[in-house]
Structure formats: C-alpha cells, structure tokens
C-alpha cells in the first residue's frame, strides 16, 4: 500500500477490458503503469523495475516454486508472480515485494467506480 498522499484519480479502462489473468499498460500522468487483474484482484504498479529500471510490467506472469525442503519442487501461487524481462527478478503481484531482494515495486491503489478502473496517484 502506498503511503503517499493520493489526491488524483486517472481512469485507465473498463473492467471488461481486464479479466483475470490479464494486464494493461497505461499512462498515468506521464508515468507508465501496469494494471493487473490477479485472479480477480486489481493491482497497479509503476512500470519500472527497482533494480535497473526495466519495464518490469511487461514481464511474464505465472506461478512459481514455493519455498520448500531441499529436493522438493512445489508449484504454487498461480498467476501471482511477475518476472522482470531483464534479469528475471520475481515480484509478488499482490504486494509488489520482490521475492529475492528487499526492493519492491512502486504500488498505486486501484478502485472501480461505475465499472471504470481508476488508478489513484
């Protein structure tokens, strides 16, 4: 959750455009933002990796291997993990937190009003 004061809203699309498992890259006041429908939850992140500034929101969305005992490989978190297209860093789409580094994606709050998706910024 962003702690910044959020004073503006930008309409970025209609809910029908973004069924579960899809994403949309939008312009929010000059900033590229990725809006994702993660299994029914709408989230939005700045399209900029905190590592080397890659367009992270264009990366693949999938599950991943869960933390497990040595030798076990358990797949989970279907549709919740974004992999940066440059260096493969994995991010939790529900929180923006990188799975392997302290850094996280810059998150925007998203609201739906009258079937319009709005990003708060």
């Amino acid at each position: 959750m962003s702690s910044r004061t959020q004073s503006r809203e930008t309409v970025v699309g209609h809910v029908d455009e973004l069924p579960p498992g899809t994403r949309k890259i939008v312009d929010v006041d000059g900033t590229s933002v990725g809006v994702f429908n993660v299994n029914g939850t709408l989230v939005a992140y700045r399209n900029r990796c905190p590592h080397e500034r890659a367009p992270v929101c264009l990366g693949g969305v999938d599950g991943t291997t869960l933390v497990s005992a040595p030798g076990e490989h358990v797949w989970g978190r279907a549709g919740e993990i974004l992999m940066c297209p440059w260096h493969g860093w994995e991010f939790d789409l529900l929180t923006g937190q990188c799975l392997t580094d302290r850094r996280r994606l810059h998150r925007y709050d998203v609201v739906v009003e009258d079937t319009e998706i709005r990003v708060l910024h």
Binding site: S32, R48, E52, R53, A54, P55, L58, G59, G60, M83, P85, W86, H87, G88
Partner: protein, 366 residues
C-alpha cells in the same frame, strides 16, 4: 523493444560509450551459406557443437523484451540492435562476441574449425557491414591451435576485427604450450586474446569444477568466475606473457571482485615458490595489471555501493576495467546502470577510454 524511463541528467554524463561485449544469434540457414559443402549435411542434421549438460534458466538467456517490432530477437538483427540498443543508449562502439563459441568446442577439431569460420564470415558479411559501430571478435577453436592460427591469419587484418576470442571452457588450461600457435598468430596481427564464458562443462571440456558437475544454472553461473581465474592463473604461471612479450589478454564476463584477493594470494605464494617459475621475474600482479583487462559485467551488487567502490580501490580499476553490457542477455548491465556504479573520477575511463586505448579504437565520435 520496449520503452525505457527517461534518465536523469547525471546518468547521461557518460558519452562515447564503448561496449566490449554484446551478443548475436545466427540463423542456421545463414551459417550454411558459409560452410563448405562437406560439412553442410552435418550442420543441417542438427549437429552444431558442444551443448551444456542441461542447465536451465527459467527466464531464458536472452531478455524477452529484446525484440524488434516484428517480434524478432534483436540479436538476430544488426539493424534492430543498432537502433534499439546502440542508438538508445548512446553506444559509440560495440564489440560483437558471436554465438560460435559452443561450435568452437565441438570434439571434432576439423568440424569445429569449419563452423567457427562460417560464423566469423557470417558476422563480417552481415554485421560489420550493417553499422560502422560494430566491431568483431574472431572466434577460433582451441581444439586445434594450428587451424586456429590459420583462421587468425585469414581474417586477422580485417579492419573490423579487434581481438581473438576463445571459449572460457577448454580441454587444457590456456597457459599450456599446446595453444602457442594461437598466441603467435594473435600477436602477429596485434590482436588481444579474450575468453568468454558459456561453454564451461560443455562437450569435451569436462566437469564444471574439480568438485564435479554443477547441478543447476544458478550453481554453474555463479561459479563462472572460477574458470576465469583458473585460465588467468594458468596463462600467467606458464609464462605465456614472457614467451609473447606483446600479447594482451582480456577476461570477458567474469565479474571483477574476485581479482584483488586473487592477486594478493598470487603474489604471496610467488614470494615462496618463485623458483618453480623462474620466468616470473616480478610479482604476478604486476604482470596482470600490465597485460590483462577485464570487462565489467556482471557487476557485483553488494548491498552497499560504497563496498563495491572500495573494492575498485584495491587495484588499478580505471586502467583495467572496460565496460560491457552483455546485451541482450539476462544478466546484463545497461550502460546507464553501470555508469552509476562507478565513481565519477573513473567513470569515463571505464565506460570509454580504457577500451579505446586497449583496442586502439581512436577517440569518440563528435
């Protein structure tokens, strides 16, 4: 190729960037055009070199966003690479280290030589001609140094060729006299010799370390700097730089931070063991600093940037390091990211000047 965020003014301070390591992929049907008839059936059957023992990178080795508007990999396209990478990042000169490295380690030395010649010819024809900013490393096969020397004599005076490139993995460390024909030819054409990782554990190179085979890409890739240091120790210890007084050497894509402690250990042991290598008439670190250069990628990223910069004070980094991006591979460092990592006092040398001097590239354009 995708958009990038605009950079701050400080990031744009680096101009005339020389990138000492970018990568291409070749279409199999184009390589055929440069292969002698006797080898074409083998190539077309899919026998094309020395594969790794099955290591897997879940994101792919090539960045998934490094594609042209038509969805083609940028590394297949000289025009795409020039527009989406050289133009986009203000790269003045980029050295192409092509995809013939695994072919170079084919166990059949005759076929290995034929394949690397085809890759070299393809890159001269299709890459060097496409944009004046490209330069080429001439890949040769270490499986037959006499054939490798012939390849250097065949193409070594091409104006776009700037060095001889050997795969990082080998059947015998590069200090051995077996390889002398390669070094003799390289110095005859005033070309440095470089090594580049990617083939360690491939084909006839054997286990990925003295401990055995790495299990996973993570283990294998993290350990690549061990091969770099192993080849460096061999070349220095065996007296290659004394036998070839004008030979210059480049360690590509090995990272940097392992170098200072290795030189400390090397010098300390030399003080006690010098009589076993009487040709080493001065501390090994002095020879390394004089004759060897390193490309920068993959930059180590300690939690504190100050620790990275402190490491660079432990050896003459501004004289020895040459920027490399490794574009478009997954572990690359973009020019703006690398530029920020180096303190302003050495930034221009690392990003441009050291490589210009070493490769005799001339001053930046404009």
């Amino acid at each position: 190729m995708t958009e990038r965020e605009p950079q701050s003014g400080a990031d744009q301070a680096v101009t005339g960037v020389v990138d000492t390591d970018i990568h291409t992929r070749s279409r199999a049907e184009r390589i055929v055009d440069f292969l002698p008839e006797a080898w074409r059936r083998r190539w077309l059957s899919g026998s094309r070199g020395a594969p790794l023992p099955g290591y897997w990178n879940p994101g792919g080795v090539v960045r998934s966003d490094a594609i042209t508007a038509d969805g083609e990999g940028l590394d297949f396209s000289p025009e795409g690479m020039a527009k989406e990478f050289l133009d986009a990042y203000g790269v003045d000169i980029a050295i192409v280290n092509h995809d013939g490295l695994s072919a170079a380690l084919c166990p059949d030395p005759d076929y290995a030589a034929a394949m690397v010649s085809a890759f070299n010819d393809h890159h001269i024809a299709d890459w060097l001609s496409a944009d004046p900013r490209f330069r080429l490393s001439l890949v040769v096969s270490p499986m037959d140094p006499v054939r490798a020397a012939a390849e250097i004599h065949r193409l070594g005076d091409h104006p776009g060729v700037v060095q001889v490139l050997l795969p990082g993995g080998s059947i015998l460390p590069y200090g051995h006299s077996f390889y002398h024909p390669i070094y003799e030819a390289a110095v005859a054409h005033d070309l440095p010799v470089a090594t580049h990782p990617g083939t360690e554990g491939a084909g006839p190179t054997g286990q990925t370390s003295a401990a055995g085979y790495a299990s996973r890409y993570l283990e294998w890739h993290t350990g690549l700097s061990n091969y770099v240091s192993a080849q460096l120790l061999s070349v220095v210890t065996e007296g290659v730089f004394q036998r070839f007084p004008t030979l210059r050497w480049v360690l590509l894509e090995g990272g940097v931070s392992w170098l200072p402690p290795l030189m400390w250990r090397f010098d300390k042991n030399w003080k006690a063991l010098r009589r076993t290598t009487p040709w080493l008439d001065r501390p090994p670190s002095e020879i390394i600093c004089e004759r060897v250069r390193l490309s920068t990628q993959p930059l180590e990223e300690p939690p504190k940037l100050a620790h990275f910069r402190a490491m660079l004070e432990m050896f003459p980094a501004e004289e020895m390091l040459m920027f490399s991006s490794d574009f478009p591979h997954w572990d690359g460092d973009t020019p703006d990211f690398a530029g920020r990592a180096f303190a302003p006092a050495m930034r221009h040398r690392v990003m441009s000047e050291t490589a210009r001097e070493f490769y005799r590239l001339g001053p930046a354009r404009g």
